[in-house]
Symmetry: C2
Subunit: 292 residues, 2 copies
């Protein structure tokens, strides 16, 4: 398998569908679509939706998970827009471009985020090709992952932790919620769409759980030694904001070891699937080595 | 029927369920529940969820619509929290109490709104007693009503209209989206839960459409001649913000005539249901005469 070509192919499928699902309707409120699409179609890595598609492929050859993959990316994007707001992280730059509120103003950025979150459910519910029961299960997976016991909960812990040292347990809970919840949702959505068994789902959750931690450790490392031009944002922000990270807790060297360990654990969880999991394994290595 | 007693009974059902559906879980992120519940359980009029229950009663004796009634109220509450933010309407007072961001800060208010919106879908999908197909239909009704072609769309038109005179058509489109969409959703949700026919749904939509306009005209009138202490907020804000309203377009006298006309039209749409619609008819009169 040519991983890069296959990754590109999957990203294209997602990008086309996201464009289609958020086509502006020509009416008085069309300005909102411009703000939504500015952030949604601005070259995200598409890790989560690609994982959804790849997990479905373990079990079926359909692309039934596509509306859910897109809904997940819409939810991820809304969270970035709201996180960047002046009252939250106050970031001017994201992926090398001005953030949503810099371009459209704060009020529109709040609404664009709200709209991406709300319309994510419309996209999933309206365009699902799954049976009603599976569709319900998948939609509930989305809302649970994004809600107070998932992503938003993580954000709340993050806010409460600012400027004070937190212990390893709290740091892990925060990341499990803030980043982990959507990554675990990605594998679940793919599995549900593919008609996987409960055993399969628990194997994939094991994979996603470890990959999520690796993903976060890599983020923390990149904030210390990443390339600002490649990242499209300032580095050293964690130190400036006195954030507890894997690097502040363990140091750079040990963090790199942990990154390798968790990536290995993630890949091991896929052993059961043999060659079929090649893409997901290569994706894990790609995330380990990423510069962005 | 003792309308007040029956209204109170329905409000109690809703209040109890809202409390139950948003019970804080004792963990690191429990602060978010406090902020959510502060606005959700602060004595809203509960018009929308009560309408959901009343519409279901036209067709069935179950209370299957309750999770959807609560989800609708959670969505309504999130929209108030975000509308009150400094970057939006910048309101300090709502229902006579400090607004969410005044109490919890802007960042938490953004998250509390996001959480109410997200968890609304979890509540609806997780607690629905309807068949999967009906549940999907009801959940899609929620997301469509709240999204870019519904409530958020109305908010976008409202923002674009500030400080400039708009024509009657734009004003009506704005209200149809901003207020009307959730009121129409309320009757649809009740009808879906009650297993109503498409004809029934279209009759109830006719009712809701007219009631929604009447509701907005009343709001505009109250902003001119309402009692600040009763309303729990400042009056005269529309004039101060140079907003186009029914009163600025038609004057106070004609607006009151229109209010009566639309309320009558709403009630007429219920003729088909005879005595069964007594509560909804009395609710329409209550909304016509409300001081809050």
């Amino acid at each position: 398998m040519n991983f890069n070509a296959e990754f590109r192919r999957k990203i294209d499928i997602v990008d086309k569908a996201l464009d289609f699902f958020t086509k502006p309707i020509d009416n008085e409120q069309s300005a909102i679509y411009e703000a939504m699409r500015y952030s949604l179609l601005s070259g995200g890595k598409r890790i989560r939706p690609v994982m959804v598609l790849a997990c479905e492929e373990l079990f079926s050859n359909e692309e039934n998970s596509l509306p859910f993959a897109c809904a997940l990316e819409m939810i991820h994007t809304y969270s970035l827009i709201h996180d960047d707001l002046p009252c939250m992280d106050n970031d001017d730059l994201r992926r090398g471009k001005p953030t949503n509120h810099i371009v459209y103003g704060e009020a529109m950025a709040v609404l664009a985020g709200d709209a991406l979150l709300t319309n994510a459910f419309s996209v999933a519910l309206k365009h699902s090709k799954l049976a009603p029961k599976q569709t319900l299960n998948a939609a509930l997976t989305l809302s649970n992952a994004a809600g107070t016991e998932g992503m938003i909960g993580g954000q709340v812990i993050d806010m409460a932790s600012e400027g004070r040292r937190i212990d390893e347990k709290t740091l892990r809970t925060m990341h499990l919620c803030k980043t982990g919840a959507l990554i675990i949702a990605a594998v679940r959505l793919g599995a549900i769409a593919g008609g996987a068994s409960l055993d399969d789902i628990s194997r994939l959750e094991d994979f996603a759980h470890n990959l999520g931690i690796a993903f976060q450790i890599k983020d923390d490392i990149l904030d210390v030694e990443g390339n600002e031009a490649l990242l499209g944002k300032k580095t050293g922000m964690d130190k400036e904001n006195q954030k507890t990270t894997f690097v502040t807790l363990y140091g750079l060297e040990k963090s790199k070891e942990l990154l390798n360990e968790y990536t290995e654990k993630a890949k091991e969880a896929l052993t059961f699937y043999g060659d079929k999991a090649e893409f997901l394994i290569k994706l894990s290595d790609y995330l380990l080595k990423r510069e962005v």
